[in-house]
Symmetry: C2
Subunit: 409 residues, 2 copies
């Protein structure tokens, strides 16, 4: 590994070293600027490109990644290779060091304008557990589940950056006895997910083949797909989740380029049923990703979901999403669905962790939680663990505090 | 009625008279321009505003309505009142007439950048018929159906303007015997719908009350929500339609301002169950709209769906969509769901018209259709019929021809 940089304080093995370099949008009093992060420093992308790669500067001049995302993947890779070079080779230090600024005191913003937001359901452990809770009289996995990655469109307009307060949604629910009630959700939940930011848009009628996925998967972020379980349970037949999800979806402020995950690629779980050709990845390099998530509730880690246990890969989700000819646009986001592992402490939602509310979680000080209360803070973190020949890679975090929605008129 | 204009050839009762004035984006060789339509003429909005209302000109300078949609509804109403004045009062004729141009030879474009696209399911006749076909063993209407307008998010990136060729989607379907097959959809269908374009965006956590709906409902268009029934039937449990819908959604090129429908307001059908407060419209002016649709397949009218028969109104759909605190953005689009009336010739989908394929439609020349074949053209038209004290109002049309999707690699 040559993860070495002249940047002071970033030693070998630093999880935010030169092997990471996620992109974000940060403001320091003025308007947001696109930056690359190394350690706890932000490198101003437009300023760096103006000095060292002027032809790339127009792609990073706005406070969102979309112009860069509109370029071909080759351009993304060239920018990343340049950044690695500038931050590694001491010859560039005089030009680059003045453009580094401590992140402390800066404010992070959503670094891309979201086109469409799609949420999948790619964890077998999660889908089975939810099936058992929501549909106890039927088989836990829907019939199509192992034939295709089930997904749906979410609300892109309510995708917000980590740190945005989450107003508890009002809505309808059915209570015991069959009556319908309206009020603040009583079963507000989280979903710990991994998100994928897309670029290099396509044209209508042109599917993306599995083998071409890397030409469109720009980078990776963390997602908390907040969910109001009581609203969702009442509304979701037959068209799927709507208000139970659309009030807010939080994403981490840092988008880690796909290339940073080269050493994290791992085989997905064995497939139980033969896959239709466009999803058959047996002959390809593995697309599973060894990302370890951590869910913290009010300062206590309550779960450690393993992304490597996901049945469907990002490449399969992308191939599926476009096989019908649907376009993708620069800035489209899709998320994996709740990441849950096979073990009890590996579920990515409170619904699962509290077994539908029947087994509340014990927190320090005698506090218990089945679902979220106002004032609760949830932080989801992710990292690629260090391994032989592999440095730890941090994905940053996605955080949010629940607040009461203002009373309706 | 004072629907009089100095524009030559637009007599009293013309369905595209000065009471209509829909907005569109049209190009004549060069880049698209925003226009208002009267008869078969286009009035260049930026040029007209520069001459007669310079403060409004920046809102119509781009080829999309979004800057205007971002302004408050009061501004929309002022622009419309100005247009009516300019095209009615002969004093403005010398300034305005040179800015009118025949639409013939122009190319229409999608006149707004779509934020989120939501599709509802607001026709009781459609929902019941589909329930009987897709879920024959359960009650035809989902349990929540009369308590809330069921809806879901569609793919905004594949909303296309009328005239865009529709590539037949590929996808998975289950065939008899339970096997899973992949290929071009064998049950390609239409859904004739009415769409609503939103403006005056809101902030997270701020629902839109029923009484405020007119402050956000900018205008009305026609929608064909193309649907691949075989893909949809296999994929939709439990998260709703995905690839069965996301390949394309066509909209008419003309957005008719809400004010043009003042005389079309009509009472929706009686409500069978008591409504939760935020949906209870009993005390409000009626929000039903007397729009008559017409579905034409290869030149033959096959259905005449009545929008006035819809159970849920646009105001209720908007109040529901935001009651959980979800924002709306300028350019968001929602559609009613398939418009079907109670009579046999009033269904807005082939699924219903052919009773799930069991009763193919007879077209001229001995041709029959259960679902769409390559080369088929569908045109959906809409109008508010003339009535005492009311001129006919044309909504234009949404058209599309089905083409084969290029073979996959």
């Amino acid at each position: 590994m040559a993860n070495e940089t002249w940047v002071p304080g970033i030693g070998a093995g630093h999880p935010h070293g030169v092997h990471n370099l996620p992109y974000g949008a940060v403001s320091f009093g003025g308007p947001p600027r696109l930056v690359a992060r190394i350690g706890d420093l932000a490198l101003d992308l437009a300023a760096a490109c103006e000095r060292l790669a002027p032809d790339l500067a127009p792609l990073v001049a706005e406070p969102v990644l979309n112009p860069l995302l509109a370029a071909p993947a080759e351009t993304w890779r060239r920018l990343r290779a340049s950044l690695v070079d500038w931050l590694s080779d001491p010859v560039h230090r005089p030009a680059v060091e003045p453009l580094l600024r401590p992140l402390a005191g800066g404010l992070t913003h959503l670094p891309f304008t979201v086109g469409d937001y799609v949420d999948f359901y790619a964890s077998e452990h999660h889908a089975s557990a939810v099936g058992r809770i929501f549909r106890p009289d039927t088989p836990p996995l829907p019939e199509a589940w192992k034939h295709l990655p089930i997904g749906y469109h979410g609300r892109s307009g309510t995708v917000v950056v980590s740190g945005t307060p989450i107003a508890r949604p009002h809505g309808q629910r059915r209570v015991s006895g069959g009556a319908v009630e309206f009020g603040p959700s009583l079963r507000l939940d989280i979903e710990a997910e991994v998100g994928f930011v897309l670029g290099a848009g396509t044209r209508l009628g042109e599917p993306i083949a599995l083998a071409d996925a890397a030409e469109h998967l720009f980078g990776v972020c963390l997602v908390n797909d907040w969910s109001a379980r009581d609203l969702q349970a009442w509304e979701y037949v037959p068209l799927g989740p709507f208000l139970g999800k659309s009030f807010a979806t939080s994403v981490s402020p840092w988008v880690v380029p796909l290339q940073a995950f080269d050493s994290a690629r791992t085989a997905p779980p064995p497939r139980d049923v033969p896959l239709v050709s466009y999803l058959d990845d047996a002959a390809l390099a593995p697309w599973g990703l060894d990302i370890a998530l951590e869910v913290e509730l009010n300062g206590t880690v309550v779960s450690r979901p393993p992304f490597r246990a996901m049945y469907w890969t990002a490449a399969q989700m992308l191939a599926h999403m476009t096989v019908n000819g649907a376009t993708i646009r620069p800035g489209d986001l899709f998320a994996s669905g709740t990441v849950s592992g096979p073990e009890p402490g590996q579920a990515g939602s409170l619904l699962e962790l509290s077994r539908g509310g029947r087994a509340p979680l014990a927190l320090p000080g005698g506090v218990t939680r089945s679902f979220l209360e106002d004032g609760d803070e949830v932080v989801i973190r992710g990292r690629v663990p260090a391994a032989p020949g592999r440095d730890e890679l941090a994905l940053g975090e996605v955080a949010g505090v629940v607040v009461a929605q203002p009373a309706l008129q």
